[in-house]
Subunit: 252 residues, 2 copies
DNA sequence: GAGTGGTCTAGACCACAGA
DNA sequence: CTGTGGTCTAGACCACTCG
């Protein structure tokens, strides 16, 4: 029909996307069932299903078997990498995630699990610790805003630094981890973050309430002390459709 | 069958992904045709096609109608945000992209188009210029390594700064744009980048040789002068499966 | 024109939510 | 038990590549 004949299911996706953006299907509401949409648009349900998969991959809707397809409400969350680790933010007593979520008027929730573990290869290499034994303390956090899961973050700290310190306990005390590092003579003076995008693992998809067609950011965050030693590696996993990341730096 | 019964097409995708990673299907080679895979794995071609769409969305393969499905060869490219704008890099005479690509032993290619245009709303707001007239100079670049398209970047500069200067010409001279800003009394002292992930537009997909199921980074890069004025906004669009982004900063 | 992927249909059955 | 999405099949036709 058109010059470049866009496939039907993409056209259907376009139509439904427009309706969502126009508010015809409002945030939180349920779309007509696939059979009805198929009838209305004169295609088969399979085609509608494919179209909805596109919108779901974009994070616009959430399909639930037995219930229906719901329009998501999603003001993306801003993660400001620089503020995150600034003293002022930390000393407000709560973590960076806490601040980001409260900025949206929502209630943060964090589950923390601390353990001694065998580090993943790449982490072991970065930290310069053995990859064949429990050479690090891991602090695994699962974070949500209200009931919406938003992020998984796992910090790895060499046992040589963390052993017997507050870094191995649930509550790291005032100022959090970063302040503890300073106390321990390993003040972090430089941060690097390496960022990529990939599909979630099945576990990640499950906790983050995602499908495998959606994508996560994987941020490999490394903290360095004054001697140039990596003293912390944290891997953040976040759904791309729920986060916007901000970086900033001064030119010298 | 299994505990959590993974759908057939995902299982097929898993099998094929393994074969690619194991080298059974090597980089650059053509996979067996969908009919054959369907026969081998005892599913219909539709199921194989769905599986391949997963791998294609991940950037692992490229399907070409009439030819076959080819395994991609893709060492992801590193973009280091800090080095990018460092004097040393720029004064090597070539741009940052140039350096990034040559680091992989490949030949960079850049097409540049300079024009006076009406800025997009968001850019106009950031730069503090009118959004209803040609108030900016745009420098649109399409970048490739050898014959692989890798990035689209469009810089917007207020006409009040660029008018009649080297910033409006094809060749911005030694040190590139950043050095010109300094000459013009608008030295950039601070950079911010705002990063999100989205599907490519049809145009972007076309130039970047992507499908709409793949994803791009959209990096909104802003340069600020000493007076706190935004003097440049550049929007970078890059396929997520071909780039890893690096950021780094010092804690004060 | 032959080869191969892209899409669509009609129909079927399954899995999960909820009354 | 009913409603709704998830997936699969068999078959068909189209679109693009290449000889």
């Amino acid at each position: 029909m058109n010059i470049s004949t866009r496939s039907q299911f993409r056209q259907v996706a376009d139509i439904l996307r427009q309706r969502i953006e126009a508010g015809t299907y409002s945030a939180g509401s349920v779309l007509p069932k696939e059979d009805d949409l198929a009838g209305e648009l004169s295609v088969t349900r399979g085609t509608v299903n494919n179209a909805l998969k596109i919108l779901e991959a974009e994070g616009l809707v959430r399909a639930i078997r037995g219930k229906g397809t719901i329009v998501r409400e999603l003001p993306p969350i801003m993660r400001n990498a620089q503020n995150r680790y600034a003293k002022a933010t930390r000393e407000r007593g709560h973590g960076a995630f806490d601040v980001e979520v409260r900025a949206l008027g929502r209630e943060p929730r964090i589950e923390l699990e601390v353990a001694r573990v065998v580090p993943p290869q790449s982490v072991a290499a970065a930290l310069g610790v053995p990859a064949d034994q429990a050479s690090v303390v891991s602090r695994a956090r699962r974070m949500s805003a209200d009931t919406t899961p938003l992020q998984i973050a796992v910090s790895y700290i060499p046992l040589s630094i963390a052993e017997g310190t507050a870094l191995e306990t649930q509550d790291t005390g005032p100022g959090g981890m970063i302040s503890r590092y300073t106390d321990l003579g390993h003040q972090q003076v430089r941060i690097t973050e390496q960022l990529s995008v990939r599909p979630p693992t099945q576990d990640e998809a499950s906790f983050l309430a995602m499908t495998e067609d959606q994508r996560v950011y994987e941020v490999i965050h490394t903290g360095w002390d004054a001697s140039g030693q990596a003293v912390e590696v944290t891997i953040h996993v976040m759904p791309t459709h729920q986060w916007t990341l901000n970086y900033g730096w001064d030119l010298t």
